[in-house]
């Protein structure tokens, strides 16, 4: 099931609306407009697809077909801590698939999806450029080398604890 829109998403959609309305029309504009929408929202919710479709007078199903064809478009919001598991050659050989599966199980989402609290999302990436550390995963901006299934739980827990700590501190001050 797609995640419901947040207040922030709605705000972005509202600013997107006049931008799209002011854009040129024509079928050729479909991809540029989808890119514009994704730039504003970080992903393409159904509402954004409808907005683009209605502006270009292209059917919604066609817009969905095009958007789902390209890897660059995503239908789930990026998490605050995007987990990127490397599937490059070296990481693949050292068991990158297993690391991915462990993240999926721990976070209870599939690759390409986002947790309900929007804290985590999982995606697979090609080489991150540090094959000596294979298998590699990125959590947010931090790189974790020599990944092992046993490390996955600790990483997720650490992010959640840090968030709690930050919330506590914010409540104090």
């Amino acid at each position: 099931m797609p995640l419901p829109l947040t207040a922030e998403d709605r705000l972005h959609l509202k600013t997107l609306q006049p931008q799209i309305a002011a854009s040129p029309k024509g079928r050729g504009q479909l991809i540029p407009l989808l890119q514009m929408a994704q730039k504003a929202l970080g992903y393409l919710p159904d509402e954004a697809l409808s907005l683009v479709a209605d502006h270009l007078a292209v059917t919604r199903s066609e817009v969905y077909g095009v958007a789902s064809f390209y890897n660059q478009f995503r239908f789930n919001p990026p998490g605050k801590n995007p987990v990127k598991v490397c599937m490059g050659t070296a990481c693949h050989v050292r068991g990158g698939e297993i690391i991915l599966e462990n993240f999926e199980r721990k976070l209870e989402i599939r690759e390409g999806e986002t947790t309900e609290d929007r804290e985590f999302s999982i995606e697979r990436v090609a080489c991150v450029g540090c094959c000596a550390l294979a298998p590699v995963a990125l959590v947010g901006e931090t790189l974790h080398g020599h990944m092992a299934p046993s490390k996955v739980e600790g990483l997720v827990l650490r992010v959640r604890l840090e968030k709690e700590k930050a919330e506590r501190e914010a409540a104090h001050s």
């Binding site: 409808s50 919604r60 199903s61 077909g65 789902s68 064809f69």
Partner: protein, 217 residues
Amino acid sequence: MITLTADNRTIQAREGSSVLSACLSAGIYIPHLCWLEADAPADAPAACRLCLVEIEGFREPVAACVVTVENGMTVHTGTETVRRLQKTALKLLLSVHRVDCKHCPANKACALQNIAKFLGTGLGCKPFERVLKEPDVDSRHPVLDYYPNRCVLCGICVRVCRQRHQRPLLSFARRGFETVVGCFDADPVAAADCMSCRACLESCPTGALVQRTVVKG
């Protein structure tokens, strides 16, 4: 009218029609999945690769649905090369198909079964590996269930939906091995017509689209 020879028989065809439609209307069966009767050679998607024939003067077998009939053409629909290619194409289709005919609503009315019978092959896909999609049922459509592992991606449902409706609901989605017939579900207005139309359900050759039975409880 155009006169041509197909399998050593002289047949007549309307100008501008395809070799496939000429042969079919003369009672010469050529296996096909993605072709619609109204398709002119330029409109045919030629996606299923089953309607291959050998035509004298052509170096290689060609899809009969995209070749326009010409006077004096000589067509062979059942040569060894053609049959071999058709069997391979069918096996490739079956390699992404869940062969579970007993539980399939299209059982005995299934284009794949008919073609397999015609070609004299079973429903196996050796030497190809069977690769199935997840999940087995897609219920995003408001009133239909879509079974990606029954679908042969012939595109007939997508095309009839586009022909019938100003705002079609069906479209191909994703790509490569992951291609499915998708639907965009944010539009309940368009979905209201689906129950009365049913064109996609009736035209599906393999039972990949099924009307959802509402479970009461």
